[in-house]
């Protein structure tokens, strides 16, 4: 049966039960002459819920039990010589299933297959009927029970609202579950990784060389975190060197000097930078910025690689500009007008007011904003995957290719690797490190931003 038809039928039934509760409550109201506790609609909803919940419970339970029964039926028909080979069992189960579906199979049909198929198709028919009957019975019984409970003193609204509240709570718990899921999944896999590799070698190792060793070989390669961390830091510093001056100065200009017209146009244009997917920045870095830098390098006779820390850092800096500027803008506008006016009244010029009064007053908030930007730069992936050059070595030269934590996560998990080998498990250890670093930065930054905002309120 089509899923859509099932849904429509279910909706028709539910609306019928809604009407049942509605008319029942209205007739009770007119018969007893007393005011009901809740609106008639609440009684309708209550009947629907009492119908829906038992039906869903029965359905889910049956969905778990039914495949088990079906498998045991098929297995009972499979002769022992076939059952010895697990691959053969799967194949013959599939053949039986396609016989049941009426599609038929190519080639000779074995007698046991035919018998199993017949048995299975009888079972399927019965099972389908049983499912419909049981679900309907559970739903109808629930609805009738609810209908019998309707009386003027019955608190239907509280029941319905209690249910809605449970749904609401469940929705807000999902956010917590996500965090728990992130931590648990990464922690579990990372701990498995640390059974292969000593954590000290991982956190303080200076060589990154995850050889794709053959299984069983004792040589697992070297997993030193430091070169990756160093690459991440280098790119982040370059990005901040680009984003902070440009972002901060344009925020200052927009909030202090620019007229309303310029503000109206310039601000959304800057914010366009924040909406562009990072893969687009990566491509831009690869085809435009990288060649540009290496061209400059050729001109001045200095070797600059097209994919290098500088290329990735500069493009990432461009990406972060609107982030820095809008956060700084927020914080600058939080500084009380009185401080600003007082400074101007004493005869300071505008720039002196900004440099000596507003920026120092806004400094903690701005630092918080920078930390948020740093955590974004550390976690950024696609730009560095495309433009950093992926060379995990400790180098002090920003014009060399480097690798970062995020690039390595992508590299370790996108190849054809065994999920249980240290080569792919290391991605989770790296992910956990990344998560902890950015979490720390975020907590500090959010704390600073929040605390600072409260100061002037």
């Amino acid at each position: 049966m089509n899923t859509l038809i099932v849904i429509v039928v279910a909706l028709v039934f539910l609306s019928f039960f809604y009407q049942l509760g509605l008319t029942r409550s209205k007739s009770i109201q007119s018969a007893s002459g007393r005011r009901l506790h809740s609106r008639p609609g609440h009684y309708g909803m209550m009947v629907v819920l009492w119908c829906l919940i038992p039906a869903v419970v029965v359905y889910v339970a049956w969905m778990i039990v039914e495949p088990m029964i079906a498998t045991s039926i098929v297995n009972s028909f499979i002769p022992p010589d076939v059952a010895a080979d697990s691959g053969e069992v799967i194949r013959s189960t599939q053949r039986i299933e396609s016989l049941v579906s009426g599609f038929g199979v190519a080639g000779e049909v074995q007698p046991y297959e035919r018998a199993a198929a017949e048995q299975l198709s009888t079972f399927n028919t019965i099972a389908r009927l049983a499912l419909v009957v049981m679900v309907a019975a559970a739903g109808v019984a629930g609805a009738l029970f609810a209908r019998s409970r309707i009386s003027p003193t019955m608190r239907a609204r509280n029941e319905v609202e209690g249910f809605i509240k449970i749904v609401l709570i469940a929705c807000s718990v999902i956010a917590i579950l996500t965090t728990v899921g992130i931590v648990l999944s990464m922690l579990g896999e990372a701990l498995r990784f640390f059974t292969y590799i000593n954590p000290i070698d991982f956190f303080f190792g200076t060589t990154w060389n995850p050889r794709f060793s053959t299984t069983g070989s004792s040589n697992q390669g070297e997993f030193g975190l430091l070169p990756l961390l160093w690459g991440t830091i280098m790119i982040t510093v370059i990005a901040m060197l680009v984003a902070v001056p440009i972002g901060l100065m344009s925020a200052v200009y927009l909030s202090e000097y620019a007229g309303p017209k310029l503000r109206f146009f310039a601000k959304p244009i800057l914010e366009v930078l924040a909406g562009i997917p990072t893969i687009v920045y990566g491509f831009f870095a690869l085809v435009a910025v990288g060649p540009f830098f290496s061209g400059i390098g050729e001109m001045i006779g200095f070797d600059i690689q097209a994919t290098s820390a500088v290329t990735a850092g500069v493009v990432m800096g461009i990406m972060i500009i609107p982030f820095v500027s809008s956060l700084s803008d927020d914080i600058i506008s939080q500084v009380p007008k009185a401080m600003h006016d007082g400074s101007l009244g004493l005869g300071a010029t505008k720039s002196e007011t900004i440099r000596k009064v507003i920026l120092p007053a806004a400094l903690p908030g701005i630092v918080g904003a920078f930390l948020l930007a740093v955590s974004r730069a550390i976690g950024e992936t696609m730009i560095v995957v495309l433009a950093a050059g992926n060379s995990p070595v400790l180098t002090a030269n920003p014009f060399d290719a480097v690798s970062t934590v995020t690039v390595t996560i992508v590299n370790q998990l996108t190849g054809d690797v065994d999920f249980a080998s240290p080569q792919s498990l290391v991605a989770f250890a790296l992910g956990l490190t990344l998560f902890v670093i950015t979490l720390g930065l975020n907590v500090v930054a959010l704390h600073i931003v929040r605390k600072y905002r409260e100061q002037y309120e």
Partner: protein, 453 residues
């Protein structure tokens, strides 16, 4: 008197002088500071301009593709296949399928290259003797198109048809001038004959630059780069967008309703709030790790499926949706709520009948923006295997699929650089156009329904 006069004037004068003396310097500093600010702003805006200009200039030409317009003769001597099988009354569907597949296989073994070569020989006679050069003129995927034409309509055999065949990628690049024509012959990808034919046919109007609609209707292709399109990635992205829309948005809104209106203010809900703020700032790749470990490794959901991608993106979009929804709930004036409570509504009724409807436009804008963000996200999708090569349009969320940003990632790494650089930019243009549409919708909704209290 005079003493004090001179003293006061002598003490006052230097200050005024000092001020006047520094005034020039201070004014210059002011001008300098202001110029730096303006410079930073202009630089930021210039980056937007450069980015868009470089993408557009590279990508727009890729929407026009060299096409060879030939009259194809479906020669029955070359297409030597029996009648298309028809299902017999006593045949089971499985048997018929087997027979049909046998027929299709015979059709696939037909030498379609010979048909293309013969059609090309009609316009350039030299093509008859140079099979390799002749076949290389047309994208290799076009053989399959000819086969499909016959498969769908066997009566074509023996007829002549005007067919617009997509030219090979190298021909396209050659005609667009993206190859340095002065390179020595040994390092050219196009043979001398093909170069000559390309130029000649282009002048004669047999090869034309047509708008490449197939970019939107074809799927990715490895063997025939010229006919590679975005359809599969487009559908995959669309499915994921639907999943985010139907999962993240309602769940996020309901969570926001609970946290903003019903949750008691205690340690537990404070923890939830801090947690949501942090979750919004967690790097996207971490969500990919979550998906790889829980959805794929633990729950055993299929790799590369839009369903898994949609789930991961939903979890990623959820905190943003919650934060936006809470902000717009908070913006509703308390008087509305109090009035509803005052006339006897329960808190739940006040919420769903009065506060929520007022807050919906704001929530919608936030939801659209977070969907747009999810649409452009790449990194988590790489970890759940969506960077696999998929040559079909997914028909359900459980099928293998690609996504627009991942397709961009795959194409930029293609070895046929000077062709795919343009094709990648074209895909980026499509993605950016989608993002701009979504953001414009959000801005429109904000202006349309914005209410100031």
């Amino acid at each position: 008197m005079a003493v004090s006069d001179t003293a006061s004037s002598s003490s006052r004068k230097p200050i005024a002088e000092v001020v006047a003396g520094t005034l020039g310097r201070r004014k210059r500093a002011e001008v300098r500071f202001r110029a730096i600010g303006l410079g930073a702003l202009i630089l930021g805006i210039a980056f937007v301009g450069i980015l868009f200009a470089s993408i557009l200039s590279k990508g727009l030409p890729a929407f026009w593709q060299a096409t060879v317009n030939l009259e194809v003769y479906f020669d029955p001597e070359i297409i030597d296949v029996p009648e298309k099988p028809v299902q017999q009354a006593d045949q089971s569907p499985a048997e018929f399928l087997q027979e049909l597949q046998g027929w299709q296989r015979k059709l696939a073994f037909v030498n379609w290259n010979q048909i293309i070569q013969a059609s090309l020989a009609d316009v350039v006679p030299a093509a008859a003797d140079n099979a390799r050069d002749a076949i290389g003129m047309v994208a290799s995927g076009e053989r399959i198109r000819l086969r499909d034409m016959v498969m769908n309509d066997p009566s074509l055999i023996g007829q002549r048809r005007e067919v617009a065949l997509t030219a090979a990628a190298n021909v396209d690049v050659w005609l667009k001038g993206n190859i340095d024509r002065s390179l020595p012959q040994a390092s050219q990808q196009l043979s001398q004959l093909q170069q000559q034919w390309s130029d000649e046919l282009y002048d004669r109007g047999v090869i034309t630059m047509d708008f490449a609609w197939f970019i939107f209707t074809n799927t990715d292709s490895r063997s025939s780069p010229a006919t590679a399109g975005l359809a599969g990635a487009f559908v995959g992205s669309f499915m994921m967008m639907l999943i985010v829309m139907f999962l993240a948005v309602p769940v996020g809104v309901m969570a926001a309703v609970y946290l903003e209106e019903f949750a008691p203010k205690n340690r537990w809900t404070d923890l939830v709030e801090v947690n949501i703020n942090n979750l919004a700032a967690v790097p996207s790749i971490v969500f990919g790790l979550l998906g790889a470990s829980i959805f794929i490794n633990y729950l055993g959901l299929p790799l590369s499926a839009p369903l898994v991608g949609g789930l991961v993106l939903s979890l990623m979009a959820l905190p943003t949706v919650i934060i936006a929804a809470r902000a717009s709930l908070r913006a509703v004036p308390p008087s509305i709520r109090q009035a509803a409570l005052g006339v006897g509504a329960s808190p739940m009724q006040a919420m769903f009948h009065h506060t929520l409807p007022v807050a919906v436009p704001g929530m919608l804008t936030g939801a659209i923006i977070s969907i747009a963000q999810a649409l452009g996200e790449t990194a988590p999708l790489l970890l759940i295997g969506m960077n696999a090569f998929v040559a079909s349009v997914p028909s359900s969320p459980m099928d293998q699929s690609s996504a627009l940003p991942v397709q961009i990632y795959l194409w930029q790494g293609n070895e046929l650089r000077n062709f795919f650089e343009a094709r990648t930019s074209a895909a980026i243009i499509v993605l950016l156009a989608l993002m701009i549409c979504l953001n414009a919708l959000a801005i429109y909704l904000r202006h349309r329904f914005e209410r100031r209290w």
